[in-house]
Symmetry: C2
Subunit: 402 residues, 2 copies
């Protein structure tokens, strides 16, 4: 598998655009509308927020993903179209209709995603201008503009692409994502659009996407809030010209590997760009009775405000890590608890290990911290990624209206 | 019921003391050892952390509470005696033995609680000095010194006392508590010692204490971490000279009312003194299908970093409140969601209500904020108390080794 350029336009048959339509405010010149189009009907799969309060576009996309076929994705930033009632639903439909008219495709093949403030009606005139602008600007080089147009508090656009060999030739997988705050386990204020020129049945793509999301976007944490809008979409247009990948084949394994890789890259990029984040922390839990126990423990550490402030302060405070493991809701014997910071063991069988405080502090100092926790000799394991909690996080969120 | 002076020494037959024994460090002059003694054997009840990793004194106290009889409580701050293995257990026993010798009481009637850093062996020579100092300083006026000696990052001592009439006379309930960070639902780094001169069987006291803790200490949130040491102890020595209060009687109801009141006062005091807290926020959820659903929703809002930073910024950001309600794990119809900030309705049936932004901001500005959330017409309700999340919280916890 090779890393390649081109983001969502790296796979064959995709064009993209990103334009500014003042969705973020009357004076805003920031790009805020993105369009991604496949030149052939694509199989589509999606995973969405499990929040009881769902934004209007989420409801719309779920219906399309149930049918499994799409041509385009339109995303706006600046307004989440959440808590907007019947008008919000109507506005999604009108947006899809405008995109469909511009592209000459059926409106029920146009996916819509929104991110931004909640409870404010969509500025539909500007949205229509955004749609028009995007349709006019579509190009195979438009992926970067699109990735920039979906940003809110993100500090950098996030995109990636890889190519991998199947039995009869190469396929490509590309992606763009946004999200920096409200990133919780179970996908927070985040949107990710994935493209591929592999051919795959929609139902197979749906199953695979769900599994990939579970081990990427559902294993990250910036704060612990889950938004009303979280959406991961994947389009597969088959334009590589290869036979459809089918479960149980080596081609399927290769495609799954590439898709998982892309999801993980995007998930990690969200954590690295976490609001106020200065550190990227990998939490690896092993030796648990089950994978689910390991997940609960890793999640508990990744979500702990006390662990996250200790990471921020470069404090090798394993006491807080042991605490967070202990209240995770998974049973283990405290006398079997081992903790490593980087390669340095700091807790051995529930007791402080012999080590130099300076050596531990050294391993906390960089931008990347790795924590390994073993809770016994079970086979359950899990990896989580989190950021530190800084004063800047508080500044960003005490002032920004989202 | 009347509020009275005297803290844990307000009920008859209790003496207390607090002294400095350098547990917090070789140079520390802060008080760090507290002793509370009943002049007659008392019925005792306790509730403890549910963390898998439990500090040594927690294991010790559980055994004594199972037997139901105690004479004294010794508390040290500065060292949690957690993750200290077999030596930690031995140190608890030795401390109890020292207290027992000083007071001429059985060692298995001496409760021990510790709070402070984790993974550091107890400085037993200093502990012994602390015990001696406390025994020498015991007095019916010692409650304030004791309350100060159990503080760690607390900025003020926390104590209270009330008296209430039973059928044949007055009884009193007093309490002291510590805790400012690591305050999570289910009792975090907190210690509370409650005294009463009512007479009650230990098993009745245990049942009642559990219920009172559930609706007080288990309904508060500063950060979301639960410590290895959380302990609430209640001693009832019967020195008011009245008949034992028995379940099902009016006396029992009166005693329960007083105990619940004292627990709630202490729980709220912990939130008000939360690390870096500048605001006290009451979250009231109603209309849920069950009390448990209401609790999940209230807890979700109380724990949300985004809600807590919005409270800090005096931002009437009901979108974040709706979000946190939505991912709480309780089902409700978003179209039935109502939110009030103070007396001002900001969300009506899932849609923004008509109100002036300035009026909403006004209600966020003070040190006390109240949020009311209605999710339908069920009878389930719950109240939670939380603090805001400030930059000072990050400073305190990025630097302090706990």
């Amino acid at each position: 598998m090779n890393q390649i350029d081109g983001g969502t336009c790296a796979p064959k048959g995709y064009q993209a655009a990103g334009v500014a339509a003042r969705i973020k405010g009357p004076q805003s010149k920031k790009p805020d509308c993105a369009l991604l189009v496949s030149d052939a009907p694509a199989a589509v799969a999606g995973t969405f927020t499990t929040n009881v309060v769902k934004a209007a576009p989420v409801l719309w996309c779920r219906e399309i993903c149930d049918k499994g076929r799409a041509r385009a994705v339109f995303v706006n930033s600046g307004n989440a179209n959440a808590c907007t009632g019947g008008q919000g639903i109507e506005d999604v439909r009108e947006t899809a209709r405008a995109v469909a008219a511009g592209l000459h495709v059926p409106e029920d093949e146009v996916l819509i995603a929104s991110t931004g403030v909640i409870g404010v009606p969509m500025p539909m005139q500007r949205i229509r201008q955004g749609v028009e602008g995007c349709v006019a600007a579509l190009s195979p080089e438009g992926h970067g503009d699109a990735a920039r147009a979906i940003m809110t508090t993100d500090t950098t656009p996030k995109e990636t692409a890889v190519e991998i060999s199947l039995a009869q030739g190469l396929i490509r997988v590309g992606a763009m994502a946004k999200g920096a705050g409200m990133i919780a386990p179970n996908m927070a204020t985040m949107i990710c659009v994935i493209t591929t020129d592999a051919a795959i049945a929609a139902k197979d793509l749906q199953g695979l996407l769900r599994e990939c999301v579970e081990h990427s976007f559902n294993r990250i944490c910036v704060d612990n809030d889950m938004s009303t809008n979280d959406t991961v979409l994947c389009l597969a247009n088959g334009r590589a010209g290869l036979p459809a990948v089918a479960p149980g084949t080596e081609d399927f394994e290769a495609f799954a590997y590439a898709l998982r890789h892309v999801c993980r890259q995007m998930a990690q990029a969200l954590v690295r760009d976490g609001e106020g984040a200065t550190k990227f922390v990998e939490i690896r839990v092993e030796g648990a009775a089950t994978d689910e126990d390991a997940r609960l423990i890793a999640r508990s550490i990744a979500m702990s405000q006390l662990c996250k402030t200790a990471f921020h302060g470069s404090d090798p405070n394993w006491g807080r890590i042991a605490c967070a493991a202990g209240y995770a809701g998974a049973d283990f014997a405290p006398a079997r608890l081992d903790i490593w910071i980087g390669d340095l063991q700091v807790l051995h069988h529930g007791l402080p290990a012999t080590y130099e405080e300076a050596a531990a502090a050294e391993r906390m100092r960089g931008r990347e911290i790795s924590v390994r926790v073993s809770v016994g000799d079970g086979r359950g394991a899990c990896v989580y990624w989190t950021s530190d909690l800084s004063k800047d996080y508080v500044s960003i969120n005490a002032d920004y209206r989202s």
